[in-house]
Amino acid sequence: MSTYVGTVRSGASRFLEPKAIGILGILFGLLALWLAIPPIAASSPVWPVIAGLLGAMCGVIALSRGAYRVGGGAIASAVFGALLAYLATRSSSAKLDQVVDASLIAQMLVFATPLTYAALGGIFSERSGVVNIGLEGMMLMGAFWGIWGADKTGSWFWGVAIGALSGGLLALVHAFFAISLRADQIVGGVAVNFLALGITGYFFVQLYHGNNIPIGVAQVPDLHLTSASSTSFFGNSFGNLNYMIWLAILLVPLSYVILFKTPVGLRIRACGEHPRAADTVGINVYLVRYLSVVLSGILAALGGAYLTVGYLNTFNENVTAGRGFIALAAVIFGNWRPFGAFGATLLFGLSTAIAFRLNVYSDQAQTLFFALPYVLTLIAVAGVIGRTVPPAADGRPYKKQ
């Protein structure tokens, strides 16, 4: 029996349904935050707090009428919204302007891009039925060998290509152990991460003596949509983005079309949902899985290469610093779908971009903000914000009969 019995309602009363009230509560929570940041930037905490209270009330009403998920979400958004808004109103507006401005969107995209590549890679691998914990390692390979290639060939393009290749090779190792040897995929992924950490660290010391990469390594150029002096909102946000950022944004719909609108995607998903059935209708499960995992490595490595060749222009030991795991989180957060994962990477990118700016307030606020993606993912897998459903055969080795 369901928790509440739905009846046929007239148009007006549909807005009184618990779910609608809950969504209203979420909107109130966002409103609370919106009031406190530029351009409105209310100076008194009263209005944001009132909005937050209204949101929490809506949440409680929704909860009491059976819409648990939306209601919980509303209360959470109201509390967070009001809290952040309160903090924002307490600080000076000059500081606030430093945190929230148009370039925030550009920075969000900068931080989201490596995650997007890796998350798309993770989706391909997991949709074909192979868990890829090794995204982090594959990113790291792309990051190091990408900048090494850019340094040696003098061309950013070949650098990125070499980086992608190195990630593909590492993915091939993972694929061999996970698919052909039917080893535990999670153990294999963990091993791949250690391996990448060791290999990149070793060769960084061997080739560059652990010092920084020479200054002036070829860098991925920006795509200038507006004149450099433009200060419009659009210009600041999207005017001077890297080619690889645009490529990442293009890859999202492309991945969606491939996975959900083409026969190739159907085969990949079939191998992830029911490999035996796929095998029965003549799909080569091993081949599909091999190709998907290698593609996943190439994509993750592109993310890593963007990080070094496209953004940092240098390399440090373990430069990816957990980004592969955030990408993995984005895959789960986005329910193994390209657009969902992209949304998650934007959210995580935004939280990182804000975190970097929060040091105008205090280092503590910055640090806690860095942990936000992980906390959100933990909440997401706990089932508070909707259910996440992995592919049915994800992580299960397939044995041909």
Binding site: I133, V173, F177, L181, R182, A183, D184, I186, V187, G188, V190, A191, V192, N193, F194, L195, A196, L197, G198, I199, G201, Y202, F203, V205, Q206, G210, G322, F325, L328, A329, I332, S362, D363, Q364, T367, L368, F370, A371, Y374, V375, T377, L378, V381, A382, G383, P397, K399
Partner: protein
């Protein structure tokens, strides 16, 4: 050696069951145990071989490099163990290897215990950090406590913190079925940032007298909370009694798993959750319990390290901490058994110290050799995870011989 009931990877258990010879249990166990020794040995050998190829390919002498690493780990001390004078390099290096072994035993047990329940606890590092933080907090506060009480409190709180941290993952597994690998990874990073938070400039555990430092660190734990050192000098990271606690935990691990109802239930769930549930064992309760106990081991490792030799910690240390991850390699190589974990911890303890601080070599630089450890660690985990391969090759001939008559019998059955 304990009875190896470890959850295997891949379809290996079925094959063993199929292959079970005429005298069932005993010969099965003996065969399994033989595989249990051979596989790790082959694994380590191959991993070191590939590591050697990497060393040679980058223009260093692999044999000399490995010999230097062995000396760096102080393993040459074993040739003359009566010389316990800590001033001698071999003895000092060996004491430092044992210091690392202490941590690795506990981190390995953390992974192994969860494994025996069919859970993969990747969160050892996070639980270790949480244990470190709590032990530091207890050690720095409560300065007026008597020594044994202060130490016990610090260790207990560290272990409890680790248990709670892993317990979150266990709870989510038990209630909503969230995969423990995902949750422990996330908890690792949350612990990491909490660690940075508490030790950073202005953080709650950052020492006020160290404000001027460029690198923020915590205060030292009070003398009353420091573990007694039995080999070496406390100021030079002497070997503390935490070593015996770790050894004791190996025994506890074995007894709990093999001689208690709790251990029986944990192993039953690890073997086959459905069968265990059918037999009246509460699977969810056991997931939560196993994760909490597993986390307690890792938290204990953090507590013992903090009170034993670290005494203080900083943000840079948090960022560099990866010993909890080594526990995965230790547990897998030790096949999730007490004796195996002990031996694997000694191997990796030697490797960790011998390739970094202990290494004095003209052949290979410590900064290079440290990464060699990571490569070997990765290869070991990779190969142990795929022990199906080695076992399959090992038994293929015998299997074939037995299969033939069986297959013939089955074919005859089908025909009739």
């Amino acid at each position: 050696m304990s009875e190896p009931l470890a959850p295997q990877h891949g379809p290996e258990p079925e094959e063993i069951a199929e292959d079970a010879p005429l005298t069932p249990a005993s010969r099965l166990a003996a065969w399994h145990r033989a595989g249990g020794i051979i596989t790790p040995l082959v694994t380590v050998l191959v991993a070191f071989l590939i590591g050697g190829v990497v060393i040679a390919a980058t223009g260093h002498d692999p044999l000399q490099a490995y010999w230097d690493i062995i000396k760096g780990a102080g393993l040459n001390w074993l040739a003359h163990p009566w010389d316990t004078n800590i001033a001698h390099t071999a003895a000092y290096n060996f004491s430092q290897t044992l210091l690392q072994t202490t941590t690795l035993i506990l981190c390995g047990l953390a992974v192994a215990f969860a494994f025996r329940c069919g859970l993969f606890n990747i969160g050892g590092n996070g639980q270790y950090i949480v244990g470190l933080i709590c032990a530091n907090w207890i050690g720095v506060s409560f300065v007026h406590m008597a020594r044994p009480a202060h130490i016990l409190l610090g260790i207990a709180v560290a272990a409890a913190a680790g248990a709670v941290w892993a317990g979150i993952a266990g709870f989510l597994k038990a209630t909503v079925g969230a995969h423990e690998v995902i949750t422990t990874i996330m908890l690792n990073w949350i612990a990491y940032w909490i660690g940075v938070y508490v030790f950073q400039q202005g953080g709650p555990l950052q020492a006020p007298q160290n404000v001027a430092n460029l690198v923020p660190i915590s205060a030292d734990v009070a003398h009353s909370a420091q573990l007694p050192v039995f080999w070496g000098i406390p100021a030079l990271q002497g070997l503390h009694i935490g070593f015996f606690i770790a050894i004791g935990m190996l025994v506890v691990f074995w007894v709990v798993l093999n001689r208690t109802t709790l251990g029986f239930e944990v192993r039953a769930v690890g073997f086959n959750p459905d069968a265990a549930a059918y037999g009246g064992i509460k699977v969810r309760t056991n997931y939560l319990r196993a994760m909490a106990i597993s986390g307690a081991f890792a938290g204990l490792a953090g507590g013992i390290d903090m009170l034993g030799y670290l005494h203080h910690y900083g943000t840079i240390d948090v960022q560099a901490t990866s010993i909890g991850f080594l526990g995965i390699a230790v547990a897998l190589l030790g096949r999730n058994t007490a004796v195996g974990v002990g031996l694997a911890a000694l191997l990796f303890g030697g490797l960790v110290y011998g390739t970094t601080h202990g290494l004095q070599s003209g052949t290979i630089d410590p900064s290079l050799a440290g990464h060699l450890t990571e490569i070997i660690q990765g290869l070991v985990v990779l190969f142990v995870g795929a022990d199906v391969l080695i076992l399959a090759v090992w038994n293929s001939r015998r299997k074939l011989r037995r299969r033939e008559p069986q297959a013939a019998a089955r074919a005859a059955e089908v025909e009739t």
